[in-house]
């Protein structure tokens, strides 16, 4: 992999990661995931009533390449919360089931893996369901 001094795509990815509290890099979109792992990760986030920014890595193959070299994580999806990589589908799923995901997300205390409360308070997070086509 070549390290170019100027890398606008990587800068844009780094910026997206730091400027969105919760951001998911996935295959497809939350409305139409193109991979089971991405679909599962979206479902976990949705179940915790979290607003999240989503980036479709299929929009441009360079996104995936730059993202993986930035995050030192080889696979998609990748969930970042407050600038930190939380993990891929397996970790997010595991953390959802243990209730840890809601804690990390600062979501209203929903016990992991259990039925969600009838009324979902959106919490303090601003609406951030953005479709981010980088690059």
């Amino acid at each position: 992999m070549t390290d170019q001094p100027e890398n606008p795509l990587r800068d844009a990815l780094a910026d997206a990661i730091t400027s969105n509290e919760v951001i998911l890099f996935m295959k497809g979109t939350p409305e139409q995931p193109m991979c089971g792992f991405s679909a599962r990760t979206c479902a976990a986030l949705t179940a915790t009533e979290t607003e999240f920014a989503a980036v479709d890595v299929l929009a441009d193959p360079r996104i995936r390449q730059e993202l993986s070299s930035l995050s030192n994580w080889p696979t998609i999806p990748q969930l970042f919360v407050r600038g930190e990589l939380v993990g891929g589908a397996d970790i997010v799923g595991q953390m959802y089931e243990s209730g840890e995901l809601a804690a990390v997300l600062g979501a209203p205390a929903t016990a992991g893996g259990e039925a969600l409360p009838e009324t979902a308070e959106p919490g303090t997070a601003p609406p951030l369901q953005i479709e981010n086509r980088l690059g």
């Binding site: 792992f37 030192n72 994580w73 080889p74 696979t75 998609i76 990589l85 939380v86 993990g87 891929g88 589908a89 397996d90 970790i91 595991q94 953390m95």
Partner: protein, 74 residues
């Protein structure tokens, strides 16, 4: 295409003392559960990075199309 046995051996050779259970229906999608003393004190992200690091650039997502991973410190 690697077999589940081969993936298991790769993981166990790559992380000394690790025990891996690997299953696959198609030798493309793999399920792995790895228990290793080396995971102790590491975040889940770093535990998974240790396992991913065993596989070459492009291998995950390539010949190993998907590796569903569960890690656990011994």
């Amino acid at each position: 295409m690697p077999t589940a046995e081969e993936v298991k051996a790769r993981i166990e050779n790559g992380i000394p003392g690790a025990e891996a259970e690997v299953t696959s229906d198609d030798n493309v999608h793999f399920d792995a559960r790895v228990v290793a003393a080396e995971f102790a004190g590491l975040s889940l992200v770093d535990q998974h990075r240790l396992v991913y690091g065993i596989f070459g650039d492009g291998e995950l997502g390539g010949s190993i199309h998907a590796l569903a991973l569960t890690t656990e410190p011994r």
